[in-house]
């Protein structure tokens, strides 16, 4: 009887479950459980470094403290400033590069690959070598070249007024190729006959760009912007390495940098969980705005 059933094999349902279950179990263990556990901890006074002191329920105190702390708002402001500056710059440069590359020329493949290289590097490596490039004396390449023009070395990582610009430059160098890649995918998907029809009508370059290129590529541009905004909001690695933990002072201290200190330096686990949730809510809200706009654009298209 048993062998007969074995020979018949598994039912469709059993096979489906066998395929789904490993993923489901992994998802629950690696994503859902930590998410729920950290939500639970965010309502407690708890330090992971003090396992012998049990978590104490304190209601929304962690959230209230964070939301009334002017320094935390300062970190959010710094992060927002970085996100706006970096994402807009990356968008302009990335889209510009895509427009330039969206034509046939010799060595196009090689040029595209070279432009994509920064994106493939580890952010820590990028932060480290830019640290040397931005060295605040003549040993830094940028100051060696620009120092004489500005009457002395520029404090790229030591001047609080300039440090954020240095972080934006590095992030832009690294991630503009991503914008370019997505834009290029969008541009190459636009049917050629639309441009040919516009040429027959003697449409200007601007007209073609405004009424053919932009509407058709914008859904993909929005997706690229969505990814970059979410990622920029979580900026950590470059700030950690390039400006040494968000310095000078707190000039480049982003929310993620502060969250890292709260969680892994101070081991203020409960408060860190609350802060992570605030960050999550903001990112989800921002993403929703993008997605709504994306749906609108798709509808129009």
């Amino acid at each position: 009887m048993r062998s007969a059933r074995f020979s018949r094999g598994f039912s469709d349902y059993q096979i489906k479950m066998a395929f789904i279950m490993p993923t489901m179990i992994l998802l629950i263990l690696m994503n859902i459980f930590p998410l729920l556990w950290s939500l639970y901890l965010s309502f407690h006074r708890y330090k992971a470094s003090m396992p012998n002191r049990p978590a104490k329920f304190i209601g929304v105190q962690n959230y209230a403290r964070l939301l009334t702390d002017p320094e935390i708002w300062g970190y959010f402001q710094t992060t927002a400033y970085f996100v706006v500056l970096a994402v807009i710059t990356q968008f302009i440069i990335g889209f510009g590069l895509a427009l330039l590359l969206n034509r046939e020329f010799r060595y196009k493949g090689l040029v595209t690959t070279l432009i994509l290289l920064p994106m493939m590097l580890s952010p820590v490596v990028v932060g480290l070598f830019w640290r040397f490039i931005f060295a605040s004396d003549a040993s830094g390449l940028v100051n060696y070249l620009l120092g004489p023009l500005f009457g002395g070395p520029i404090g790229w990582t030591t001047d609080p007024k300039i440090a954020m610009l240095a972080v934006v430059i590095v992030d832009t160098w690294m991630w503009s190729p991503f914008m370019m890649l997505i834009s290029l995918a969008g541009l190459s998907a636009i049917p050629k006959y639309l441009y040919e029809a516009a040429d027959v009508d003697r449409a200007s370059r601007w007209f073609k760009f405004r009424w053919i290129t932009l509407p058709l590529v914008s859904p993909l541009l929005l997706i690229a912007l969505l990814f970059r905004t979410m990622d920029a909001f979580k900026m950590f690695d470059i700030v950690y390495v390039l400006t040494r933990e968000g310095g000078p002072g707190i000039a480049t201290e982003t929310v993620s940098m502060n969250l890292y200190k709260l969680a892994f330096r101070n081991y203020n686990t409960g408060k860190a969980c609350a802060m992570a949730y605030l960050l999550l809510i903001i990112i989800v809200a921002l993403s929703n705005i993008y997605v709504k706009h994306l749906n609108k654009v798709r509808g129009e298209a």
Partner: protein, 436 residues
Amino acid sequence: MKKLACFFAILAFSVLIIATPSTNAQEKLTIAWAQWDPANYLDELSKDFTAETGIEVDLVQISWSHFQDQVFTAFVGKSDRYDIVIGDSQWLGRNSVGGHYVDLTDWINENIDVDSIYATAMEAFAEYPKGSGKYWALPAEVDANGFLYRTDLFEAENEKAAFKEKYGYELAPPKTYAELRDIAEFFTRPPNLYGVAPWYSKEYDGITMGFQQVMWSYGGSYGDPETFKVDGHINSDDVVKALEYYKSLKAFSPPDAPNYYWAETLDAYKAGKVAMAMDYFAFFPGVVSSDQNPNYYDKTGFFVSPAGPKGHAISIGGQGMSISAYSKNQEIAKQYLKWFMQKPVQEKWAQLGGFTPHEEVLQSEVFLNATPFNKAFAASFPYLQDFWAVPEYAELLEACQTGWNQVIIGSKSAKEALDDIARKHEAIFEDAGYYD
């Protein structure tokens, strides 16, 4: 079906072979320490322990930037990865109260001649709470903040004459912070040479280790260690003056000085950018090595951190040896600690380049004459002081790091920053129940 059975049999056999512990496995002790020269010396020294006992010692060197995170993450995960941790003095509070370090009080009292160890070292690296007589570690590497200087500049006749003419006294290694500033000013000749490289970095404990000794020497303090009251101590007029003094040195430092900690000051010195540099004594062996410092290895002198107008205090460096509460080899770890503290082993430790906490060895002629900087190190010993070692040290440290760095870069005045630090420190102590 046969194939399937055969496959499972092979799989089960492989798992059995992998999972079965080797019966003749050698006993092994794993020590975690930061990646630096003293760890190499200890690695060398530990070979003697292996030769004597047959116990293998694996010294895991973790880069300084990840040292604390890696060790603490292992502790939080209750990992038995490390048997012995050679950790910073500030870690004592957190790791003893948190249950990560083994309480060694009884064992030390029975097995170690505590009187042979410098009392300052025992208090800083082993005892928590201070004065309680409860021990969680044994001092391993006792370090201090010191200075190195360019003898070719200090001994040049023309420089000496010019200095005397300008300042009215002889050019010599400074004994006070006022002299240090004069000399720093004198040698500041941008863009190729600057007077001094102090620690201003926001990273980990950089600016705190550099500035706190100035603060103490100007008559300031972090707070009352009995009541934990901070207001009126860390933001007193003395500390404001000390911080303003420390900031004034920036004018005589290279442009990238706000990022300087021990690695950067050492690099600046070796590159010939500065006449004087602040650093831990533990890094000085590299300065007198012709391989690591080809330009100035034979043109370098060393001096004790200067005194201030109201006293003389020096930041303590170095680490203590603790046993992880999650180690499965605690008895072997104790055996290693006992072996390490023996006088002949301490002598060899000092001979290899380690800074011994053993009083007799430290004061011996052999040690004092072993390197050009050992005398300055031994002379620094009576003045060593430490940061708070309470479990909340990381939060206290972060407030100091940010606040003091903000003063250096001009984002805040000394008074504003110190008032902020005082407020934050009291909030941290309040939160932790120190005022209950």
